[in-house]
Symmetry: C2
Subunit: 133 residues, 2 copies
DNA sequence: CTGTATCCACCAGGATACTG
DNA sequence: CAGTATCCTGGTGGATACAG
């Protein structure tokens, strides 16, 4: 983090065949979307799949998330254009969050990833037990 | 982290349709595979796609990773059964890392995710510029 | 070359209290 | 209800030195 000023590069170039890699063709995956290093983005994306949801409701759908972190994560996703925020000027205030079109396209990969986790959990846990023992 | 003892649950249950969620059917995605919150796992997985690679070579393929972090990440992946480590008792020592069968199955989702990032980077950056301005 | 141990900075993220 | 501000801790991860 300190070493890489504004370029937290991780070599995830699709054309990275093996060894060499041209310095230009790298992708700032983590920078582009912090999901990789961020604790809550995936959960939020996932929870938003259902459609427009209110803030408080999201809190309930994402066990363990704090008030503060939900706000921050939503802001970040909004900034990236993955989530849209519409606030209805009522009293008490009502705000709804929703995946944008862009955000929806991300649901697929996220889902694939999550599904994989579900499918292989037993294997992984077995492997861990083996490794630790 | 402090709130959730050993159960860093994130509600990524595939059957989470919208609101309710049975407490049993959740997945410990982050716990099962730290990729979500871990800075380097994805990069390493990706770099290992090419086949068996030596430690030093990985260092070169993953810009910015530190000696220490590469070791730790590899250990973690090995523990999870995603990476195999074979050391050849030579001098100087030679060690090769390789994706296991299980690890290979993960390449797909990872790749999908990365591809998405590449494809939509411009949109995201545009969105950010808009948001910040 | 590969790996471990130590030290330390930084920041993600939790708890809490307070506004509109 | 939604959001912000402040404070504070734990852990991630970098730098370095050392060992086999």
């Amino acid at each position: 983090m300190t070493a890489l000023p504004a370029d937290d590069v991780i070599s995830l170039d699709p054309n990275l065949s093996a060894r060499c890699q041209e310095p230009g063709s790298r992708a700032l995956v983590r920078d582009v979307f912090s999901m990789t290093s961020d604790k809550w983005s995936m959960s939020v994306i996932r929870a938003l799949n259902a459609g427009p949801v209110r803030f408080t409701h999201l809190m309930g759908d994402i066990p363990g998330i704090s008030h503060r972190m939900l706000t921050r994560t939503l802001r970040a996703l909004e900034r990236d254009g993955l989530v849209s925020r519409t606030s209805y000027p009522e009293s008490p205030p009502r705000v709804e969050y929703e995946l944008t079109t862009l955000g929806t396209t991300l649901s697929e990969p996220v889902r694939a990833f999550i599904d994989w986790t579900h499918q292989h959990r037993p294997e992984i846990e077995a492997s861990r037990a083996r490794f630790d023992g």
